[in-house]
Amino acid sequence: MKFILPVLILLFLFLLPLFAGTYLLHLMILIFLYAYLGQSWNVLGGYAGQLSLGHATFLGLGAYTSTLLFIHLGVTPWLGMFVGAILAALCGVIIGFMSFHFGLKSHFFALATIAFAEIFRLFATSFQAVGGAQGLLIPLKGNDLYALQFVEKDPFYYIALIMVILCTGIVYLLQRSKFGFYFVAIRENEEAAKALGINTLRYKVLATGISAFLTALGGSFYAQYVLYIDPHGTFGVLNSVDIALRTIIGGTGTLLGPIVGSFVLSPLSEMIQTLIGVGRGGVYMMVYGAILMIVCIVMPNGVFPYIKRLWK
């Protein structure tokens, strides 16, 4: 009985492109993308409990790798994205290993991830070989499956939707697996977990790697959808916050948190943008900031647990 609602929602989502306009599809694609990224982040930030404010590093690595491979070697992004993901996972493992080996926790780990995020951003900005500050334009190919480019939004919509579903599925399986329980144990009480014999370093690094891998795939998708990437839009602290934001608002460590968070935040920010307009610069972001603060104060456990309670 309780499966009816989710199934109906999924059905609705799959049928949506048949009657939705371009703008709505665009909005939904962004919602799915951020839900996907948030879910990827969730593995490390939510389940393993290590707040990363540097995930844009992985997003950027994914985006830049698949793009550079395509531009310079003609490699299809379908393959390039996995190369990028592996590279990002490697990076994640290195960053994670170094940080956790030196015992960085909570604030300090978050700050370290910020430092890494900014270092990558600065490097990407400074080297012309990867586009520098101007970024990279992906050569337009029109409708080209090999190049992962489409003229209409519909294919992107379905790819994004499937990505969210698969990612959520992966997190679901993770949640119920041995790894998942280890992650949560580490999150709740690392000392106790160690006492139980769990190699906390190994699992934290594993979480970082998995999270990085998934995030990078999202980065490649983003590159293919927007067809232009630059350090400002892919690397750095602000983009990292964007990735983590939906999950934190929706509820970290919950399966549906990233999804709920994304469905709440994206339409909200679109609405504000429409109501207030970009006009007298800054008002939009002011309201955005105010809303962030309000959500933190009123729903410190995230929106999803709140909804869950109302549902009961």
């Binding site: 930030g45 707040l51 404010l53 170094m98 940080s99 030196f102 015992g103 960085l104 926790k105 909570s106 604030h107 300090f108 978050a110 700050l111 370290a112 910020i114 430092a115 890494f116 900014e118 270092i119 600065l122 490097f123 900005t125 400074s126 602290v237 916050v241 983590a244 934001l245 934190i248 608002i249 970290t252 007298r280 610069g281 800054g282 008002v283 939009y284 972001m285 002011m286 955005y288 900031g289 105010a290 809303i291 962030l292 603060m293 959500v295 933190c296 104060i297 410190p300």
Partner: protein, 290 residues
């Protein structure tokens, strides 16, 4: 490499570091006592700059003099922010605390943009470009004054924390807040005061910066990350550390600029940051570690 150039650059860096130090001092107090990562800290520096700017433009008050107005006002402003916003997430997980200060940062930065537009402003004071020479080297006077004031503020806070009852209560809360409340210290009141002092320092930094730095809504972002690096470098909660860290980072970035192209000079700070986080998280002079 011209030695003179290197030394001149290092001197400029040290002087800039003095201002960084003032910003970091406020941050380290907040970080040390409340354990809040205040991303909005840079915005209070920015607001301090605007405050002094308008006091100068409309009332002709010299920025250094305006400190007498800015510091108390920002102290109360800080307490207001603490009471209305920060306090409400003190018990929440720190994901939420960080998000709150980020929201505050966005709000304040864009409020400034809305109210005063993104136009860069600056003041030209008779002494803005004054310099004096020591041998071959030129020392910019406002920056020197900034350094001096940084030392004064650090010194005052140091004695305040060590010698007064209130100061010791603040230290107590920083070290062991449950123990502090058991012996009768009103921890919430202490948090209010500590946050207030931290923000007052931020505002003061803004006033001190005004003579030689441009004013714009985005100025805060320029400082905040570097301020964090300094705080960790010096040791969380350690003022003298913040002072020392400020000078080191100032010099490091200035010298880095000589050797590294463009934006990369900041990489120096971040690399130092990571190294400190890994190898000496308590900072050079010792501070809180989680």
């Amino acid at each position: 490499m011209d030695m003179n150039l290197l030394v001149q650059v290092a001197i400029n860096g040290l002087l800039t570091g003095g201002v960084f130090a003032i910003i970091a001092i406020g941050l380290t107090l907040i970080f040390g006592v409340l354990e809040i990562v205040n991303f909005a800290h840079g915005e209070f520096v920015m607001l301090g700059m605007y405050a002094s700017y308008f006091l100068y433009i409309f009332l002709g008050i010299d920025p250094y003099l305006s400190l007498l107005i800015v510091m108390p006002v920002f102290f109360f402003f800080g307490m207001l922010i603490q009471k209305s916003l920060i306090e409400r997430v003190m018990k929440a997980r720190f994901h939420i605390q960080i998000l709150l200060t980020l929201g505050l940062m966005l709000f304040l930065q864009n409020f400034a943009q809305f109210a005063w537009s993104s136009d860069f402003r600056s003041v030209k004071l008779p002494y803005s470009s004054s310099v004096f020479q020591v041998g071959e080297f030129i020392i910019n006077i406002p920056r020197l004054i900034a350094c001096f004031l940084a030392l004064v503020i650090a010194g005052v806070l140091y004695f305040f924390l060590k010698k007064t009852d209130l100061g010791m209560a603040i230290k107590a809360c920083a070290v062991e807040k449950e123990g502090a409340s058991i012996v009768g210290i009103n921890v919430e009141r202490i948090y209010l005061i500590a946050f207030g002092i931290g923000i007052a320092c931020a505002g003061a930094a803004g006033s001190i910066l005004l003579p030689f730095f441009y004013v714009s809504p985005n100025v805060g972002s320029v400082f905040v990350l570097t301020a964090f690096v300094i705080v960790v470098l010096g040791g969380m909660g350690n003022f003298v550390g913040a002072l020392l860290g400020g000078f080191i980072i100032g010099a490091a970035e200035a010298i880095g600029e000589l050797f590294l192209p463009g934006a990369l000079k900041q990489v120096v700070s971040f690399v130092i940051f990571i190294l400190i986080l890994f190898f000496r998280p308590m900072g050079l002079l010792g501070g809180k570690v989680d």
